[in-house]
């Protein structure tokens, strides 16, 4: 099929921020996650755990606690002392409301989602009413000395339990009075050390579950003030705790990176008496597990090693299938790298700065697997720091490499890049049209003459780039029916005729750029779009969904192509569908129109359309057969079933010639480069891949010891 010269880049020094807190939506369909840099992400479980929304962080906005309230509203609170509501359709943080008690350590919503309780630095617990458009302070509960580190509502909303250092207390919500105060370090010999109650839960039975820095998970009868059970799960601190809605299962996270599952089990089979038993230990993380969540079917944990781990509970899964597989997410489900193909530049996006690199080059050629000697080393051209506390939403470099743009929550910046000899100069483009920021996605046209800016409410702004360094707002494209969600993916066509835009409601609108008119909508498919691209010669839109489905939509014909229909009717191979990281980038080979290049975190794939299309009457398993049969297949062989292998390139290369012919298929999967953050085609046989080996960034994380925050 062909040889590629692969520029294998490992100098993208991305260090994903650690997971600080998790909040599972009460209905269990979405998971909100906050990172230590203040970024908030929403994962959609229904869309194959896709990282659906990302709200970049802010230097001054730490998020200590997240909670869902009043339906689908997401609130966050942190050491800044503010309670912030997140606008999930506009992907921005609304203005915060001051909690009035200093830094906020914890925040929980009551069972009905109408009230928020916050635990503050000054020892107060405050109740806020969730009202349309914001929140309203309601009242203060009994204030005692000592930071309130964790809170939990009783399911009936009558009591709140608040954990502090060395003790926790139970507060009657109606009277606002503390009705019980229990010292947790009472039974310890090492009582001289402070015992920090890091997490707490109040069960409907009146049992208080506390997790403390001595590594204990304790069960208290708060009314009697007695300790019912104590489980020392770890020698180091237990930092987080989450209880299943049914109150029969608890997950705790510790500072050693281990998580433990506790279950309420009958003492004897069939008996009525039940006890909490530590059933399963897990060691998914290398660092502190600061956040855990318990969805109805899964244990979820997030660590300072930036990993989000979703482990389905086997007993809740009907059959052993893909749903029961463990999911680990370390890298974002979106692009942080953009590439100037012609200039061979790479732009790396970090949370508060950008790096521009020029790729090296070689004059040699070689055989498969060979490393070619470099005649020019890669070059770090420039580091562009974003001003202000806000983190970068998106960035892009133009294909010619002379324009560079990025956006934060409040600012959009465009730069002119000039490479003269060895030096690089950046010049800010003055008088960029004032638009309502932020931009969620920036995309330059193939000829680098226009810039597309994804914006709120489904709109896309089109800028005309002017020489030597100017910019003019040409038009704003809007979906005719209106849309509340922001656009997060853009794809212009190479001929400058079309633009596809995906908004948060997963609708794909196609605009005609010649007349700035809405062209059509791609038929709705109820899953998140993870990548789109328009084919340069056929103007077919290739769409990758987070459930791993692939579609091809002919823009001129406003309908799915016959290839796409064929693929859909035959179904994709199970091994393809069961990958757990979404396709994040699609590109094409201009020299070989039937090739589609795709990649996710673990593989890059060249999909040869010619091997899939054009053969009719294969039956429902046609594609599958085409995947595994020799093409052209001299003898159509019946396939066993889904268990036929979807062989990747390295496996195929090991096969003898005859067997290889029989096993060749349309999905040329290469798993050589992992974890893969970006892949693009520079020219007809030159690829660039950006890898970020896990070990490279793990070494940059703080040592995996108990984090000394305070009081420990």
């Amino acid at each position: 099929m062909g040889e590629f010269e692969v520029h294998r880049v490992r100098f993208f020094g991305l260090v994903p921020a650690g997971v600080r807190c998790l909040a599972c939506h009460p209905r269990g369909t979405r998971l909100a996650l906050a990172r230590t840099d203040g970024a908030v992400e929403v994962y959609n479980f229904a869309a194959n755990y896709f990282q659906e929304k990302v709200i970049p962080g802010h230097e001054a906005r730490s998020v200590e606690s997240l909670c869902w309230a009043a339906g689908d509203r997401l609130f966050g609170a942190g050491l800044g002392g503010d309670i912030t509501e997140y606008d999930l359709s506009g992907l921005s943080a609304a203005r915060g409301v001051d909690g009035g008690g200093g830094p906020i350590w914890s925040m929980v919503a009551n069972g009905t989602g109408t009230q928020l309780a916050i635990g503050c630095e000054d020892g107060s617990v405050k109740i806020f009413q969730v009202v349309p458009g914001g929140i309203q302070f309601e009242r203060n509960l009994d204030r005692r000395k000592g930071r309130v580190l964790c809170l939990s509502w009783h399911p009936s909303d009558t009591h709140i339990v608040a954990g502090s250092i060395d003790f926790f207390r139970v507060i009657d919500v109606t009277s606002g009075q503390t009705v019980q105060r229990i010292m947790v370090n009472y039974h310890m010999e090492k009582a001289k050390r402070e015992c920090v109650v890091w997490a707490i839960a109040l069960l409907s039975s009146g049992t208080v579950v506390s997790a403390d820095s001595f590594g204990r998970v304790q069960f208290w009868d708060w009314e009697q003030g007695t300790l019912a059970e104590s489980h020392t799960v770890s020698t180091s601190a237990v930092l987080s705790l989450a209880v299943a809605q049914k109150e029969d299962s608890i997950i705790v996270g510790t500072s050693t990176g281990a998580t433990y599952h506790l279950q309420l089990l009958p003492v004897r089979l069939g008996g009525l008496e039940k006890r909490w038993v530590r059933t399963k230990p897990f060691q998914f993380h290398s660092h502190d597990v600061r956040a855990v969540a318990h969805s109805p079917t899964a244990l979820i944990s997030g660590g300072l090693d930036a990993q989000l781990v979703i482990r389905p509970l086997m007993e809740k899964v009907q059959k052993k299938s893909y749903d029961a597989a463990l999911r680990k997410f370390t890298f974002p489900h979106r692009r942080l790298v953009s590439c100037a193909r012609k200039a061979r530049l790479l732009l790396f996006q970090f949370s508060q700065y950008l790096e521009l690199w020029r790729l090296g080059s070689t004059e040699e050629t070689g055989k498969d697997g060979e490393v070619l000697p470099l005649c020019r080393m890669p070059e770090h051209l420039v580091q562009l720091k974003s001003k202000g506390p806000e983190h970068i939403y998106c960035s892009c470099v133009s294909p010619c490499g002379t324009w560079l743009g990025y956006s934060t929550a409040s600012r959009f910046q465009l730069y002119r890049v000039r490479c003269d000899g060895d030096g690089v100069s950046l010049r800010k483009v003055p008088k960029v049209p004032k638009l309502l920021p932020p931009a969620y996605q920036l995309q330059f046209s193939a000829d680098s003459e226009s810039l597309f800016v994804a914006s709120t409410r489904g709109s896309v702004h089109v800028f005309q780039l002017l020489e030597p360094g100017g910019c003019k707002h040409l038009h704003t494209l809007r979906p005719p029916s209106g849309c509340s969600e922001a656009v997060y993916l853009l794809a212009p066509s190479a001929d400058g005729h079309w633009l596809a835009a995906v908004s948060g409601d997963w609708a794909i609108h196609i605009y005609n750029l010649k007349c700035f008119k809405h062209h059509c909508v791609v038929p709705t498919y109820d899953c998140a779009v993870s990548a789109i691209a328009i084919h340069p010669s056929t103007n077919n839109l290739v769409i990758a969904y987070s459930d791993q489905q692939l579609f091809e939509f002919s823009i001129p014909e406003k309908q799915y192509t016959s290839w796409s229909r064929a693929v859909q009717s035959r179904g994709l191979h199970r091994a393809w569908l069961e990958r757990d990281s979404p396709i994040t980038h699609i590109t094409f080979n201009p020299k070989n129109p039937s090739h589609i290049l795709l990649h996710d975190t673990y593989l890059l794939c060249v999909l040869d359309k010619s091997l899939v299309s054009g053969r009719e009457g294969w039956g429902c398993r046609g594609l599958l057969q085409s995947l595994t049969r020799a093409v052209p297949a001299p003898l159509p062989q019946p396939l066993p079933d889904d268990s036929a292998l979807l062989m990747n390139q390295s496996t195929l290369k090991q096969l003898p010639e005859t067997a290889r012919k029989r096993q060749l298929h349309a999905f040329k999967i290469c798993k050589k480069f992992q974890p893969l953050l970006f892949m693009d085609l520079l020219d007809k046989n030159c690829l660039v891949v950006v890898e970020r080996p896990i070990m490279d960034f793990k070494t940059q994380l703080p040592l995996p010891v108990q984090q000394k925050k305070f009081g420990t």
């Binding site: 590629f4 692969v6 100098f11 070689t362 060979e370 070619l372 470099l374 040329k668």
Partner: protein
């Protein structure tokens, strides 16, 4: 190590408890007709049979008023009759069921009896005051026979009887004018030796005790200068006694000084516990106070006081010891003090004590006691473990205040029962024990049980509960040191399956036993093995049974093992038969499995090597053939492992091969039939060495490639060629 354990009262201050001052001690204790039984004689009137563990009397017999028992009542272990002498001359013999002593058998003798000694297999011996000895049988044939007087004016101070081989030996000491004499008499042969004891200044012996080992009587004497001396008396051969007429003087050696941190223990009685330990009852003078009496255990090897117990109420100065229990009069009650005494040798600590050494342990006791060697040994070895187990159990039950012992037999009782119960009873009792939930001490208990069983097997060769032993070994994690006699018994009984199991399971088998097993396995015939049930798992996967047919074998294995070997063979023109050596199993399946068990056992080369030298040449060759076969089999596979469970590893095979060659090399070189084997082995090893050196080179190259690859991985940027097919 020795330790005194708990004590209890066997008998309170009864009517005969404290007899008045008399010419001799007021009480006498003799072993009863069974274990756990003692016979207490109170000078004067009555004899009582006690069950020790129950602390209660089982029977009591007394003489009529006016009559006096003049020597301790003993029990004839063969007939279970009791023998007493009253009024010096009147012999009484009765049985358990006889209530009235007056109606018992009566015989009046012609001379005064000093003591009667009862021996388990030697019957009863009667020692007269005049030094003459008669067996009871002889005496009863003619009670009025004339008894000669052998000692003129000497008074007997102590006497003891032992079995030496099949012959009873009686030793007694006499005193005359501060001179002490020792007489050694073999009643069945009618010879008598008289020795004079070397004088020890002004000190005189207070107490004697003796035991016999290897034809030598060891007499221990407690002297009034608070020292214990040891006197060795060789048992003379019959031929020499004609010439020896003159009086021999026995020299003695100091064994122990009874000094306790400056103070000196004034001993009154002495008991030997084992070859390193003695117990002394005596008093320690305290300045300004009444001397306090105490019971002490001394280690004669290290000359140390091991333990002591104060007896504040005073004693009668007498001490008896049976079945790992001390008996003494404390105040006015007869007190039983249990003790533990373990041989303080390094071998014991390592658990490799040979059984012959443990048998040496014997206990010969008070001057008025007579005991059979073997009985004491068996008592001690069993009772000590039983006591240990029981003491632990009682502690545990005290703590938990749960009487969990009711219903089942206690371990001590069980052990006693194992000694004589029928096979069926033994089996059911042990099944019960094994069915118990595992407790921490169950392991030790099982060890005791096995020891008890093997002791019984040794005593009675017909008793051999094969299935039971196999089951225990199979299901319990025993070790050799926990039941040191088991393998010896199994060897004796030729229980190959049990030996195989022991070899596979015990981690601490002494090399001597390993060798004995190896020899036994090699010498047993294949035909016999076919009928024996052994575990074949370790060999069945690679020993090709069909190939044992010689005809087929030579046909099939035309091709040599490797090219190199072929060449070598062609060069030296080795006849075809010899080629088959490496290719078909030289031993049968059963034997292979047994030998594998030997290969699996742990050993130390230095200790094994001397034994291996003794292996007969033919067996050594057979074993080497088998090892060679295994080696070839191993080398056939890439991973050099043999299939199957517990099959020998290549390292084990090589180690044994080297050991065997080391031990037998000179023999092998001389033997013509070994020549081909050795030459084949040599060639094969040489080929293997070459092969592996080549492999090492390849490994080195691959490693270098891997290193280069790794180097490339760690680069941050590279341009590579990727071919998509």
């Amino acid at each position: 190590m020795a330790a005194l354990c708990e004590s209890f009262t066997l008998r309170g201050p009864g009517p005969g408890g404290g007899s008045g001052p008399g010419p001799g001690p007021g009480l006498c204790l003799e072993p009863g007709p069974g274990s756990d039984l003692v016979l207490l004689t109170e000078r004067g009137r009555a004899a009582t049979l006690f069950k020790i563990s129950d602390q209660k009397p089982l029977g009591c017999w007394s003489v009529k008023h006016g009559q006096i028992l003049t020597c301790p009542v003993v029990c004839n272990f063969e007939t279970h009759e009791y023998i007493a002498v009253h009024d010096d001359k009147v012999l009484r013999i009765w049985k358990n069921e006889d209530m009235n002593l007056d109606k018992a058998f009566k015989a009046t003798l012609s001379a005064d009896v000093y003591r009667i000694h009862s021996l388990p297999q030697g019957g009863a011996l009667v020692l007269f005051r005049g030094g003459a000895v008669r067996t009871l049988d002889v005496l009863l044939e003619a009670p009025q026979q004339e008894i000669e007087n052998l000692i003129s004016a000497e008074a007997i101070r102590w006497s003891g009887a032992f079995m030496e081989g099949q012959q009873p030996v009686l030793i007694f000491t006499t005193e005359k004018d501060r001179n002490f004499f020792v007489y050694v008499q073999k009643p069945k042969l009618g010879n008598l030796h008289k020795y004079k004891l070397e004088q020890q200044g002004s000190a005189k012996p207070l107490c004697f005790t003796a035991h016999i080992t290897n034809q030598t009587v060891t007499l221990l004497c407690l002297y009034s200068n608070n020292s214990v001396y040891q006197v060795l008396i060789p048992l003379q051969q019959d031929t020499e006694e004609e010439e020896e007429k003159e009086e021999e003087i026995l020299s003695k050696s100091l064994l122990l000084n009874l000094s306790v941190s400056g103070a000196v223990l004034k001993g009154t009685s002495l008991v030997v516990l084992d070859k390193d330990h003695i117990a002394v009852l005596g008093s320690l003078p305290e300045p300004g106070k009444k001397p306090k009496e105490c019971l002490t255990i001394w280690n004669t090897k290290f000359q140390t006081l091991q333990t002591s117990k104060e007896l504040p109420l005073g004693t009668s100065g007498q001490l008896w010891c049976y079945e790992e229990k001390f008996f003494l009069i404390h105040g006015k009650v007869l007190t039983v003090i249990m003790y533990k005494c373990e041989t303080s040798s390094l071998a014991a600590a390592v658990g490799k004590l040979k059984d012959s050494q443990t048998l040496d342990v014997s206990s010969f006791v008070n001057w008025n006691t007579l005991e059979d060697e073997e009985l004491v040994v068996s008592f001690q070895s069993q009772e000590s473990v039983a006591l240990k187990a029981e003491a632990r159990m009682s502690l545990r039950s005290n703590r938990s205040t749960v009487a969990g012992q009711s219903g089942t037999l206690s371990v001590g009782q069980l052990l006693l029962r194992l000694k004589d119960a029928s096979n069926y009873v033994v089996e059911t009792e042990l099944k019960k024990l094994m069915a118990k939930a595992p407790t921490p001490d169950l392991q030790a208990t099982i060890g005791c049980v096995v020891t008890a069983l093997t002791d019984r097997c040794k005593r009675n060769p017909k008793f051999y509960p094969q299935n039971l032993l196999q089951e225990i070994v199979e299901t319990r994690d025993l070790s050799y040191s926990l039941c040191p006699d088991l393998m010896a018994v199994a060897l004796e009984q030729k229980d190959l399956h049990l030996l195989q199991m022991c070899l596979e399971r015990f981690p601490d088998i002494p090399e001597e036993i390993t060798y004995a097993c190896l020899k036994a396995f090699l010498s047993v015939s294949e035909d016999h093995l076919k009928s024996v049930d052994v575990n074949l798992d370790s060999a069945i996967c690679y020993v090709d049974v069909e190939l044992n047919d010689m005809e087929v074998k030579t046909e099939i294995l035309e091709n040599g093992f490797s090219e190199e070997m072929d060449q070598d063979m062609c060069d030296t023109k080795i006849p075809k038969e010899s080629r088959s050596v490496g290719e078909s199993c030289p031993v049968g399946l059963q034997k292979a499995a047994l030998l594998n068990a030997v290969l699996h056992s742990a050993y130390t080369e230095t200790f094994l090597l001397p034994h291996l030298k003794n292996l007969p040449a033919q067996q050594a060759i057979l074993f080497l053939r088998y090892l060679y076969y295994l080696y070839v089999k191993c080398s056939e596979k890439v991973n050099t492992t043999l299939p199957g469970i517990r099959s020998p590893t290549i390292n084990q095979i090589m180690d044994w091969m080297c050991l065997l060659l080391d031990a037998q090399f000179t023999v092998m070189v001389m033997l013509p039939e070994a020549k081909d084997l050795l030459s084949n082995l040599h060639k094969f090893v040489r080929a293997q060495v070459r092969f592996y050196s080549e492999l090492n080179k390849i490994e080195g190259s691959l490693r270098e490639l891997q290193r280069l690859n790794h180097l490339r991985e760690s680069q941050t940027y590279s341009i590579e060629v990727l071919e998509i097919i």
